[in-house]
């Protein structure tokens, strides 16, 4: 593995530099576009402050976080399970892949009525939307990962009569881990966006509800402020998951 120093976590400086570039670009663009198209940094910061000092907004954020946490966890577990089934047994792959493809390509508007009737108007359809968009990402990656397991190690495991679960744990999981990781990173990133879009589609609370309201009231600075909060949540979740992975590695290595 190519693990040299440059693979460490983002150094603070580079991160600040990146943030600086983004802000500079934004500032630059505001020179050309009216505030309704691209609100000024200042107006967004003011809005952000307002959001972060109003308790009821924390409840909205909490709702989205909860939906995301449940949806992503279930989606990842189901995706992992299906991916392993598909990767391990050719038959399952041929049977399940069409369903995965349908999950992936059919836009949510097509089945959201069904989801609403089924799960109610309580935000659970949002979780369902997250699950449906997470499962294919994970399952396809994991299934692809199976193709690249070193068959010589599988032979070794067979020779030494590794049980099915032992082969899983010690040969297959470590082999597909890199594929799972990159898929997970993608699912986590898009997950936040999808949670919000799901909320826009099916509820009126959560961050998605707030964004919808801001759209209705034509308050672009509010939309951007909420988007910034989503990005912040993504970073927090990314850090958290990184931390968990590292802890795990520490105890397991």
């Amino acid at each position: 593995m190519m693990r040299n120093k440059s693979w460490e976590k983002p150094s603070g400086w580079d991160f600040l530099l990146a943030a600086g570039i983004i802000l500079a670009l934004w500032q630059f663009l505001t020179l050309f576009f009216p505030p309704l198209v691209l609100p000024s940094i200042k107006s967004v910061v003011i809005k952000l402050k307002e959001i972060l000092t109003t308790p009821v907004f924390y409840k909205m954020i909490g709702l989205t976080v909860e939906r995301m946490a449940i949806g992503l966890t279930s989606g990842v577990l189901v995706g992992l399970f299906l991916g392993i089934l598909m990767g391990g047994v050719g038959r399952f792959r041929r049977l399940l892949m069409p369903m995965i493809s349908i999950m992936q390509t059919v836009p949510p508007v097509s089945w959201v009525v069904l989801a609403l009737v089924w799960f109610g108007f309580n935000g659970r359809p949002v979780m369902f939307i997250i699950v449906v968009s997470t499962v294919p990402v994970i399952a396809i990656s994991v299934c692809e990962g199976f193709k690249h397991i070193d068959s010589r190690l599988l032979q070794m495991a067979r020779l030494y009569h590794f049980s099915r679960s032992k082969t899983m744990r010690h040969v297959i999981f470590p082999s597909i881990a890199p594929f799972f990781q990159s898929a997970f990173r993608i699912a986590l990133g898009s997950g936040w966006k999808i949670a919000v879009m799901g909320e826009v589609l099916t509820t009126s609370d959560g961050i998605g509800g707030m964004i919808k309201q801001a759209r209705l009231n034509i308050e672009p600075e509010s939309i951007i402020a909420w988007s910034a909060i989503i990005v912040g949540l993504f970073y927090l979740s990314d850090l958290l998951i990184d931390f968990c992975f590292r802890e795990r590695r520490k105890t397991h290595a």
Binding site: L36, K59, F121, I218
Partner: protein
């Protein structure tokens, strides 16, 4: 603007207060009416009814918001909701598709406006060679715009270019000066005008409608409805609701400031904007019987434009709820 409370937040708050009041009068049987409403004008009277407990202490009103058609469809199909506020196209479509639903009243009229930043613009004919921004293809504003354009002798595509977008995007483009001519609905019109003083209302569709058709009827836009099941099971309550709703509509028109505060509290719409918009929102209560003429005219126009908009045919009289 000032901090806002969300809709569901508000509804929950109300539920709890209503629940505490229920404990006072345990004797009578409590009932909950579940409403599916959009964050738009017809909802304002409901808010008033909730605040004033217009239906008595035993009747709890629960509000759920719908913003996308899917949510409304689900609400009508899941059997979880009793009453709805919806555009008249939607109620007709649902009825024509066999959903057991009745139009109880028409409560919103007009609300569609022609907005422009062009000081020279006077009549539809001035649009020749220009681009008009219209929210939502095949919506009533689109049908009406095209109707007026054709009345003015303009052909869409050759004389006038129509660009469709969602109402948010159209509003933003008008507000930022990227678009010069657009069709907008209240309350976004008021919000929009306050954000850019170059913009003005060139005319309301209402006036155009009356001018072109040489009538003094108005354009009905939205109404309130209930499921057949709810009406059958609660005939008295339905009548009571109808009466209280009429009163609440009057109240909103008479007390725009208070209504604005309610809208901000429950719907997240800015109070000032709502207050300013109320006179333009065309809130007026009419039973379907009283509005028969206007409804027929509207449905006829839409049917001729695109029958699919109203579910394929002009709805039968069975759609209209009649207290008698």
């Amino acid at each position: 603007s000032s901090p806002k409370t969300s809709s569901t937040e508000g509804s929950k708050e109300l539920e709890t207060t209503v629940e505490t009041s229920q404990q006072v009068s345990k004797s009578s049987e409590p009932i909950t009416i579940t409403l599916g409403v959009p964050a738009s004008p017809p909802t304002l009277p409901i808010l008033r009814m909730m605040e004033s407990r217009a239906l008595g202490e035993d009747v709890k009103i629960k509000l759920d918001m719908w913003n996308e058609p899917e949510t409304l469809i689900a609400m009508t199909q899941a059997g979880t909701h009793d009453m709805f506020a919806f555009p008249l196209t939607v109620v007709s479509t649902l009825y024509n598709k066999g959903v057991g639903i009745r139009l109880m009243n028409v409560n919103t009229w007009g609300v569609t406006y022609f907005i422009t930043s062009d000081p020279e613009f006077k009549t539809w004919e001035d649009l020749k060679g220009k681009t008009l921004y219209v929210p939502l293809q095949s919506s009533p504003p689109d049908a009406l715009s095209q109707f007026f354009l054709s009345q003015a002798g303009l052909t869409v595509g050759t004389d006038v270019n129509i660009v469709y977008g969602s109402s948010t995007e159209i509003a933003t483009l008008l507000g930022s000066g990227e678009a010069a001519y657009g069709v907008m609905i209240e309350p976004q019109v008021t919000k929009l005008l306050s954000s850019n003083d170059k913009l003005r209302i060139a005319f309301s569709f209402e006036e155009e409608w009356q001018r072109v058709n040489k009538t003094n009827t108005k354009i009905p836009t939205a109404g309130f409805g209930a499921t057949q099941k709810f009406i059958d099971e609660n005939p008295e309550l339905t009548i009571q609701f109808q009466e209280e709703y009429e009163k609440a509509v009057k109240w909103v028109n008479d007390n725009p400031a208070e209504a604005g505060v309610l809208a901000e509290k429950h719907l997240g719409l800015p109070a000032k904007v709502v207050e300013k918009a109320i006179p333009n929102m065309g809130l007026e209560f009419k039973t379907p019987g009283d509005a028969k003429e206007e409804l027929d005219m509207l449905y006829k126009l839409l049917f001729e434009f695109n029958p699919k908009m109203i579910g394929g045919k002009i709805p039968e009289a069975g759609l209209y709820y009649d207290a008698k």
